[in-house]
């Protein structure tokens, strides 16, 4: 009936039961968000700091809204404009904030494992909002929530994860989650953007042909090409990537059945997704964003209660 962990560092550490509890609780918070008064007093006495050492629009706003809808007090911290630029270490920064009596930490950091490091050294509950190329657990949870909302179930659902797998924490969290919940997965993308041992490591199928992957799947989760993390040339040009792996309306219409299109955002329009696909009624990209608030409320609610 409760979560098996004190922090949400990654989907890797969760059990299938944990995931089911979070998704079920999120369902109730989604109902709260449709009321005229979209707020409950559950976390009235909890203070949460949002530590964003890396840029974010959706995740930061979504966490902040989730916290406010739960009546928690929130503090926002962004690395730019802080004492990080004066050379303060991560642990010092966090310990200084915690000494002002903060109960929970939501953190995004460009270094993989940063929240795991913090979890070893500080008493507060930590929620990973994305760490480097490791995990982005709340994104995978909201993706799963959106899939089961659209298709009615996760188990047995065929999901194609397409694009820049190599640099994607979203892909890794999604693979962990979908496997734990019994969905089928195909990884698709150019060979240079797919980690060499992924097939053995995760026991997933790899497909280099986009059309074959789309023909097979019920849901295509299309990932962003992360140019900021690429320090070498992995494909010749964005135009060439679009020609081989971009999803166009023409390609979508030529498939034997309609599939659902997802994207964690921000979209590179005209690269991984054409505009008319992103805005089509097969796309649930904006529903994903909407569900994100309910899912994050569930995570905050369940972890805040683990503290006493």
């Amino acid at each position: 009936m409760t979560l098996s962990c004190r922090h949400l560092l990654g989907i890797k550490d969760l059990t299938a039961n944990d995931i089911a509890v979070i998704l079920q609780t999120a369902q109730q918070f989604k109902e709260v968000l449709q009321r005229p008064i979209k707020k409950v007093p559950s976390l009235r006495d909890v203070t949460i700091v949002n530590l964003f050492f890396e840029n974010s629009t959706r995740t930061r706003i979504s966490f902040e809204l989730a916290e406010k809808r739960l009546s928690a007090d929130t503090i926002n911290f962004t690395a730019s404009g802080s004492s990080v630029s004066k050379g303060e270490t991560l642990l010092d920064t966090v310990n200084n904030i915690l000494s002002m009596k903060v109960d929970m930490v939501v953190m995004r950091h460009s270094a993989s494992g940063a929240p795991h490091f913090l979890a070893k050294h500080i008493p507060a509950a930590i929620i990973n909002a994305g760490d480097g190329i490791n995990e982005h657990p709340t994104q995978a949870l909201l993706d799963a929530f959106s899939i089961s909302e659209k298709l009615g179930k996760l188990e047995g659902t065929k999901v194609a994860i397409i694009g820049d797998i190599l640099h994607s924490r979203v892909a890794q969290s999604n693979i962990h989650l979908l496997k734990k919940m019994g969905a089928e997965i195909i990884i698709c993308g150019p060979p240079t953007l797919i980690p060499k041992y992924i097939q053995e490591a995760f026991d997933v199928r790899v497909e280099y042909n986009l059309r074959k992957a789309l023909e097979w799947c019920d849901v295509a989760n299309v990932l962003r090409i992360q140019l900021e993390r690429q320090n070498q040339v992995l494909f010749s040009s964005l135009r060439e990537y679009n020609l081989a792996y971009g999803i166009s309306k023409k390609l979508l219409n030529s498939l034997s059945k309609p599939i659902t299109i997802m994207h964690p955002g921000p979209i590179n329009r005209g690269v991984e997704l054409d505009s008319d696909v992103a805005d089509s009624d097969q796309s649930i990209i904006l529903q994903q964003v909407e569900n994100g608030v309910a899912v994050r409320m569930a995570v905050l609610y369940l972890l805040a209660n683990r503290q006493s």
């Binding site: 409760t2 109902e31 009321r35 005229p36 609610y301 369940l302 209660n305």
Partner: protein, 176 residues
Amino acid sequence: MKSLLNSQQIGLTIKRLANQILENHTPLSNTAIIGIQPRGIALSDRVVKEIAAETGTAVPFYGKLDITFYRDDLRSAIHLPSNVDMPFSIEGKKVVLIDDVLYTGRTIRAALDALMDFGRPAKVELLVLIDRRYSRQLPIQPNYTGKSIDSIISQKVKVLWQQKDGTDEVVLLDEI
């Protein structure tokens, strides 16, 4: 273990409670009947059915309220929420809240907070099957009571329902 109400007595009590609501709320066009999740629902389902049988028409406003997010003991235990089903506005309506057992009064306190998030009712009344008087921690009293009992804190009142537990019965358990 001591039996407080048997199946036949529960049936008669529910019939009486339904009639008492009708006495004060006819016509039902401005009254909302709201069961409290999870344990109040079996009772509210029966009361609503009884009212419908008596009047010959379905109860116009019947909702289900979950109070988990409004509890005052969130720090001490995890409670998982149940479904909320409030397909109407309660603004200006007379509300009858229904729960199986009234004990400390804390559930009803939370229910009142939860209710106000759905609008401003004209009036709120409380119906319970069992009233454990002398156990109250808050100034809350029922308007309609199935049976009042005297019990001590170490005892537990359990309401069993046909659909879930195979029989309708209210029992008093002595916890060791």
